[in-house]
Symmetry: C2
Subunit: 195 residues, 2 copies
C-alpha cells in the first residue's frame, strides 16, 4: 500500500523516482498551505511552496479535490475507524454517536475552508464530496442504527442528511467568537433524541 506512489497502483509499473519525490513534497507543501491560507489557497501558491510548476500538481492530482483528499486521507480514516470503536466502548449508542460527531466537527473546524469545500456543488469538488460520503456515511449510519435500535433517537433521519447538516453547521466556524459550531451541532444531536 506504500510502495508505489499515490493511491491505487494502476497495474505493476513503478513511478519514476523524481515523481515519487515530488508527490510527497507536494503533499507537504499543500498541507502547509492549507493551514496557512485555507484549502482554497491558489494552486500557484502551493506550486511555489513546493518549488514545482503548476503542471506538476495537475499531473499528480487531476483536481484540487484529489489533492485535498490525499492530504487529509489519514485523518478521515482515523475518524471512520473511531466509529465502531466508540460503539464498542460501553456507553449508550447515543453517547457514542455524540462523541463521534464531535470528532468529525473537530476535524472540520480545524481545517480552514474544508467545510465550505465539502458543501460546494462545484464539479471540481465532486471527488472530495464522494470520498467523505463513501467513507463516513456508512460509519454514521451504523451509529445511527444502533441508537435507533436502542430507542434513543427518532429513526427518520438518514446518515447522509445528518452528516451533511453537521458539515454545514461547521461552515465559517473558524475564528468567529460569536459562532460556536460545536454548540449548534450539540443542539442538533439533542433534537434527534426522543423525549
Amino acid at each position: 500500500m506504500a510502495d508505489n506512489g499515490s493511491g491505487a497502483a494502476p497495474s505493476g509499473r513503478r513511478k519514476r523516482a523524481d515523481a515519487r519525490r515530488n508527490e510527497v513534497t507536494l503533499l507537504d507543501a499543500a498541507a502547509a498551505a492549507f493551514v496557512a491560507a485555507g484549502v482554497d489557497v491558489p494552486v500557484r501558491d502551493i506550486a511555489a511552496r513546493a518549488g514545482v510548476g503548476v503542471g506538476t500538481i495537475y499531473r499528480h492530482f487531476p483536481t484540487r479535490a484529489d489533492l485535498i483528499v490525499a492530504v487529509y486521507r489519514h485523518q478521515v480514516e482515523a475518524c471512520a475507524e473511531a466509529g465502531p470503536a466508540l460503539l464498542a466502548d460501553g456507553g449508550t449508542p447515543h453517547a457514542a454517536l455524540a462523541r463521534w460527531i464531535d470528532l468529525f466537527v473537530d476535524f472540520l473546524v480545524t481545517k480552514h475552508g474544508l467545510a465550505e469545500a465539502l458543501q460546494s456543488d462545484d464539479a471540481a469538488f465532486q471527488s472530495l464530496h464522494a470520498y467523505f460520503i463513501d467513507r463516513l456515511v456508512p460509519v454514521c449510519g451504523q451509529l445511527l442504527d444502533a441508537a435507533a435500535a436502542a430507542g434513543e433517537i427518532r429513526p427518520d433521519i438518514g446518515a447522509y442528511e445528518l452528516l451533511r447538516g453537521v458539515g454545514n453547521l461547521c461552515v465559517g466556524a473558524g475564528g468567529n467568537p460569536r459562532y460556536d459550531a460545536r454548540r449548534l451541532v450539540e443542539l442538533l444531536i439533542a433534537g434527534l433524541r426522543l423525549h
Copy 2:
C-alpha cells in the same frame, strides 16, 4: 421614500431619468438572473440581460452584495415584520419562533445560492451579511427572549448564532432530494427546547 432612486437620498439631488430607469431595469434583470442561475450569476450576464454595460451595474451597486440586498430587500423586510406578528398571534413563543424560522428557511431555500453567499467570508459580501444581521437578528432575539422568558427553551443561545446556524443548514438545499434542510432546522429548534 420612493421619489429618488435607490435607497437613501444623499442630500436633495434628483438622479437623472435614465439612471432611475436603468436602476429598475437592472433590478428586474438581476432578479430574473438570480432565479435562472443563482445569485452567483456572472455580472456580465446580468448586464447583458438588462442591455447595459457592466460599468453601469457597478455605478448603481458598488458591490454584488448591494445588488442582492436591493433585489431581496422587500422579502427580508416582510420576514422581519412577521416576527412580532407571530408573537402576538396567540400561540406559545416557541411555536412563534418555530414558524418564524420556517419563514426564514423558506426564503433562503428558494433563493438559489443565497445561503452560500450569506455565509461567505468574502469581503464582497460583507454588506449582504451586515444587512441580514441588522434586520433579522433583533427580530430573532425578540422571539428567543420571549421563549426563554416562558421557560420553553434553554437561554444560552444567541440570536446571531441561531440564525447563522439555520442559514448554514440551508446551504446546498436546492434540488438535492437526500438533503432536507427544513427537517434539520426542525431538529435544531427541537434541540433548543427544555425537556
